[in-house]
Symmetry: C2
Subunit: 321 residues, 2 copies
Amino acid sequence: MKDVAQHAGVSTATVSRVLNGHAAPTPETRERVLAAIEELGYRPNALARSLRTTSTQTLGLVISDLLNPFFAEIARAVEDEARSHGYCVVIGNADESAEQEATYVRTLLDRRVDGLLLCPATDDPELVREVSAGGVPLVLLDRTVRGATCPVVRADGSEALTALARRLVGAGHSRIGVIAGPPNTSTGRERSDVLVGALGGLAQVVHGDFRQESGSQAAAKLIDGGATALVAMDNLMGLGALGEIKTRGLRIPHDIALAVFDDQPWFPLLDPPITVIAQPTVEMGRAAARSLLALINGQQPDDVRLTAKLVLRGSLGEAEL
Amino acid sequence: MKDVAQHAGVSTATVSRVLNGHAAPTPETRERVLAAIEELGYRPNALARSLRTTSTQTLGLVISDLLNPFFAEIARAVEDEARSHGYCVVIGNADESAEQEATYVRTLLDRRVDGLLLCPATDDPELVREVSAGGVPLVLLDRTVRGATCPVVRADGSEALTALARRLVGAGHSRIGVIAGPPNTSTGRERSDVLVGALGGLAQVVHGDFRQESGSQAAAKLIDGGATALVAMDNLMGLGALGEIKTRGLRIPHDIALAVFDDQPWFPLLDPPITVIAQPTVEMGRAAARSLLALINGQQPDDVRLTAKLVLRGSLGEAEL
DNA sequence: GATAGGTGTGTAATCGATTAACTACGCCCT
DNA sequence: AGGGCGTAGTTAATCGATTACACACCTATC
């Protein structure tokens, strides 16, 4: 910057003003400075700028698993929305591990992100408290924690799950296997609670960990237990369940019915296409980013609750007619 | 930091020394400083540190599309490897747009990332030159550019493509539709060049853009053109082709054979399972990260060429027997 | 007991920007 | 002519760390 100033025959202050579009510099000076910048190929150092202004124009996003297309899509939406407001997003991958999540959150805070979006790995409020104590704007996404004190953006699947339960019961299924998420995550608990409640005693629950492998194992256990219908509470566990069903040579929906929470582009391609509860992922990501930006700007955004929708495709069999 | 120093009754220099594990401070001082840090909940400002040391411990990764599971997996691997070496990764999503890619690259350079991994959207070497001119370590991943002067990490599918061509020809297919990537990307060009060459005149090529929609359109065109076999050069276009095949009610492999470049966890679940050319994505990501770290440490890593493998699963029909 | 050498800390410059406070230079008005 | 005022630009403090250099103190040696 000093070089640019020298080159243009002005002080660094003037260069800075030109850079930041301040009113002061005369058009002529401005021209000279811009020419110098161009000539020297100067690019301002964002670190120095941030240090001085205490604003990094960066959001942190800590998600549970980048490999999960659900989160990838969310990340994409967050990034889109943030960019359209001039913000960058730094993504941290927690790998469903609370420790790694904490490490990442601290790293991002150390780098002074302007705000943080978190999909908490567990419902332990400790980390959230730590961030809030640091005074950094925080929004929870997809999952919440016990006694959360910050805005939360999530999808509400109650209605869809209830409708799904009604269909399954109506079709005469009496042993319905629920492949639930980990009980220490809000989504893991709530989704299965709602479904189990609506199934009124017909449900058998096995908890997985939102990963493919656990989906296969849970499916195996439930099929062995005599289930005639399976509901996987997340797309990766759904993938695992499908694998197990295929391995055993069972036919959907003839031998076993299946529904999955989370839609994926390839679900309609299966034979039969898979019935799902589709979450408005893109909207969730955008809404979360918007809430966070509002928070950063000193507003008090409300919680956002979007509704997930039941999409019938055929994998429940007659139940769908 | 000043507060911590005051609290411990030492100077900021000593605090800094404790923080950075310098030999100097006596165990007793060290204790006092650590206690003060603990008590005040002090966390060092990474921006200030980076400004002073000109090292951010951060790698930039600019990929074409986070929604593409291939790139998501790569991102994951890069992140893993980087983290294990104490580096963070900032991911930029270029959305297959050269402009957005350039914007992101510049933003990352402004933030002084220690090195950059790039999956270039086009094979135009201009951006690469710009980065190199800035003296920032750069490694290209998956794709290369014309006359690249930096290390490149990619998968070589020639062998697998040739084997695939042999099988298709051997099975008597005489009109083979190739759904290629954009001709201005190295992977888009090279993959189809190899395959078309190996098919010796039996190929019909339609270029897509590595997105689902273009896969459907290309498939439609090729099927209308009388193709009895399709090869999609990337998983998203493969997904599109599958959709088109399903829409038309065609049966694989009876009515049409299909193979896809890039494996996906759900390909084995289809009926029949899809034959693919599988790339070692995780290894690519890790290798790229390692090359970049080597470059940062002043070494001169070689290009890395991993081999993609043909995985026969049944979607080619008799050709596979 | 003076000197050399080693050790633990402090002082202050520095990284590259932003910005408050100040200066210098017209220009207008009485 | 002189005072007031607006404007363009400069000087220097600042953000929060790192680190070269200086300094004080202690110990070992002759």
